[in-house]
Symmetry: C2
Subunit: 471 residues, 2 copies
């Protein structure tokens, strides 16, 4: 693709046509996304029969569209794509987002040939291709999206994702924990615009501070390594490499036609760049949350945890040890200050880990105790284990109780500037999960990272510490 | 404790007193549990002031109770416990469940002495002690419980759990995935009734087929090893050992006064018995679900997965490989049969992993395709990846769609007798989680194990295969 000006049209098209807008189709949904996310320019739905969709005129063909078309989102069958591009060229088409599948990923020669045909037409006409076999572009600022429930607000994290389904998951799962996106690209078969082009673009993208990538395969290893090296020097890049095993490689080939590359090659990629490797979608989200919300000045691994529940605290301690963190023995003065207003140590743990009797003290006393701990320079990091995991639905009394703890934690954490995370455990029941979701939001709105388990928190935080140390 | 007859009173007391029933207290809740779970015998709440709780007379003291008392649930401050036991002895008291904390777990000499006093009185009077510092007994059949939302129905899994909070979590989290309990004991400091006594009892307990244990420390290693050896020969025993690290050991001591033992000693325990070791609460639940619902005849590791989503399928393939499972290449005939009614391979994967176009075929055709796969003897195990992870709330169309897939899966899995698991991924949003919860229930009611991720499913299933092979 012709890089810079094409990306202008990828992320900020002046006008968008959607091909394949029959009732109940993907094309109809894409048109609806443009309307719902407030795309500002002209929208041209296309369908041979014509008609109207939600008050917008449907044109029989791109040839009938009155103005120029910067971007087309294509949901018509694969064999009609070359003609669509040829017709689009006459309308000044710059970018075709090919949601359409049925190309090289089928493994059939005719699929590969068709993909080559499409690319040939596109190159001849100067059109950039995103996809095929992809979900396309999400950029809330431009009114582009590929689902109804993505955040309308923009953020400063970008996603490069070869899989459409995983794009959908990642945008949502990270949003639930406070990540907002500058842009996300689901790029499928990567016949033209690929992960390397996108990374190169993101080096200078002033909307983006952090880059997340899900990659199944790359076509030009040396260029990828070079670009990733440059990008990862200026912005943290978190990568989930799928198809990392021999079996997974085959699966990746049949998913996006990707050549997954050898493990050794990938090990070299990670050792030669500052990119952060993660092993699952959940770890990818944990890592983004940590990079976004955990202060960069966190360096050491001396930790304190506080929660309700001795068993949870014992397990958290094992997890800290296994992740290379040190549960710091409380300084005598700190412990005295912290427990000054604790009337009984029955059933609680007043060392570190701290299983704290929140319920038996005033709000002010709780805040004082927290402050004594968080202002202490004997710990680098504080994890609050929100005691939701053992609670009973309907939680009518319990949620406000945890909410009150979090309000005070937020106050004191801000005041003391101590790196602080909140573990809101994966819960046993749906009702608790809904409650946890609200509490998560409270935390991220106050700038605190949240995690679903102590172990996953420590894994991500450990990676962040290594990353910042490598500077 | 005097073993056999005491356990009669632990799990089926004829009458129960509750000490410390003031408004809003734990004692009041315990009384309420007895009422709500339908405890059949007399209930005697105790409180110096007397009065009434939900229509039940409160007696000033156990001395005032008209009849004999088999069990007392004790929620009064620690220092009053010895006198209560002395008074109880006159009423024929057999078991005291000491919810009360403030004993040896405080680490203070006076706490240790008090616990020794309590034990001295109990032994002299022939009273068994559960606890102190515990939640006590859950046995739905007898109307005993320690939370409002535990299942009312009985099952055939028993829980031995040193931590009260973790008992609460485990009973619920496993219930959510179809486990019902014969009994659960949260035994805290284990001053009298301990993990080994309970395991010895469970060897012959004809209500129990599977045993789960969360253990922080044991006091008599050789006896524990001997009893566990016997128990694990007759019933699967799954153990989460907390305090397994040096830091965790210290934490365990301050939680339940437990002596956590060396790692080497624990390694010996596991190598010398058939007990299955797990590393987290979630893994413990996964293991119970697998032992309960996955057929014992599952031996091999040739697997097929089916779902919606190429990226999810690629990641699942990596996870299979990493867990030692083999994604079996589909036999040509099987593949032909399976895909006979698939009209297009655009955007799907028709090898294995299978990213299947459910939406583009009739219910009958979908069932035929599944049947072709599940009756094939080239796979030992089938995992269905329920495609909820990428869906959009409010899911009004999507949940019925997955529900319909699961209905057909259940039919065909029963018909073919193929070991089958369902992965219902941890979801991005609360609403999806509620939907997933309903779908989980549908699966376990039909006898299928459910998991929250492919990786966790494979870990548990791999452990079950090793367990069954070791017979």
């Amino acid at each position: 693709m012709k890089r810079d000006d094409s990306f202008q049209a990828v992320f900020e098209p002046a006008s968008v046509a959607v091909a394949g807008v029959s009732p109940g189709s993907a094309g109809e949904r894409y048109t609806d996304y443009l309307l719902k996310y407030g795309f500002k320019g002209p929208i041209y739905p296309l369908r041979p029969k014509g008609g109207e969709f939600r008050g917008v005129k449907i044109y029989p063909s791109i040839k009938d569209v009155p103005g120029l078309v910067d971007m087309i989102i294509c949901c018509i069958p694969a064999q009609h794509v070359p003609q669509l591009l040829t017709d689009g060229a006459a309308k000044g088409l710059k970018v075709a987002v090919l949601h359409t599948a049925g190309f090289s990923e089928t493994g059939r020669p005719e699929g590969r040939e068709l993909e080559a045909d499409v690319l040939r037409v596109a190159k001849a006409k100067g059109i950039s291709i995103v996809g095929p076999n992809c979900m396309g572009i999400y950029r809330p600022k431009a009114g582009l999206a590929f689902a109804y429930d993505f955040p309308r607000e923009s953020g400063r994290t970008a996603l490069i994702c070869q899989s459409g389904g995983n794009s959908n998951f990642l945008v949502r799962a990270a949003a639930e924990r406070g990540i907002r996106w500058s842009k996300a690209v689901s790029y499928g078969n990567a016949s033209d615009v690929n992960e390397t082009d996108l990374m190169e673009y993101l080096i200078k993208d002033d909307e983006t501070d952090i880059v997340a990538a899900y990659i199944e395969g790359i076509k030009d290893g040396p260029r990828f390594r070079e670009v990733l090296g440059k990008l990862s020097v200026v912005k943290p890049v978190v990568i989930l490499k799928a198809g990392a095993t021999p079996a997974g490689k085959k699966a990746a080939a049949s998913h996006t036609g990707a050549l997954a590359g050898s493990d050794a090659a990938w090990d070299a990629v990670f050792s030669q760049s500052r990119a952060i490797r993660v092993d699952s979608l959940d770890e990818l989200v944990d890592m983004l949350v940590t990079l976004r919300f955990m202060p960069v000045w966190l360096k050491g691994k001396r930790i304190a945890t506080m929660g309700v529940g001795g068993g949870v605290s014992v397990l958290a301690t094992d997890e800290c040890h296994n992740a290379g963190f040190v549960m710091a023995p409380l300084d005598t003065d700190v412990k005295r200050e912290m427990t000054r207003n604790v009337t009984s140590d029955a059933g609680v743990m007043l060392g570190n880990p701290i299983d704290f009797p929140f319920w038996a003290m005033s709000e002010e006393h709780f805040r004082d105790a927290l402050r004594s701990l968080l202002k202490w320079d004997g710990i680098d990091l504080f994890l609050f284990l929100a005691p939701l995991r053992q609670s009973e639905p309907p939680l009518a009394e319990y949620v406000p109780f945890v909410d009150y703890q979090l309000s005070n934690l937020i106050k004191v954490a801000h005041e003391c500037g101590k790196p602080t995370g909140v573990v809101i455990n994966l819960l046993a029941t749906g009702q608790s999960w809904l409650a946890a979701s609200g509490l998560q939001q409270k935390c991220y709105e106050a700038g605190l990272p949240t995690y679903h388990s102590t172990a996953s928190a420590l894994k991500a935080i450990g990676r962040a510490i290594r990353y910042h140390e490598s500077r």
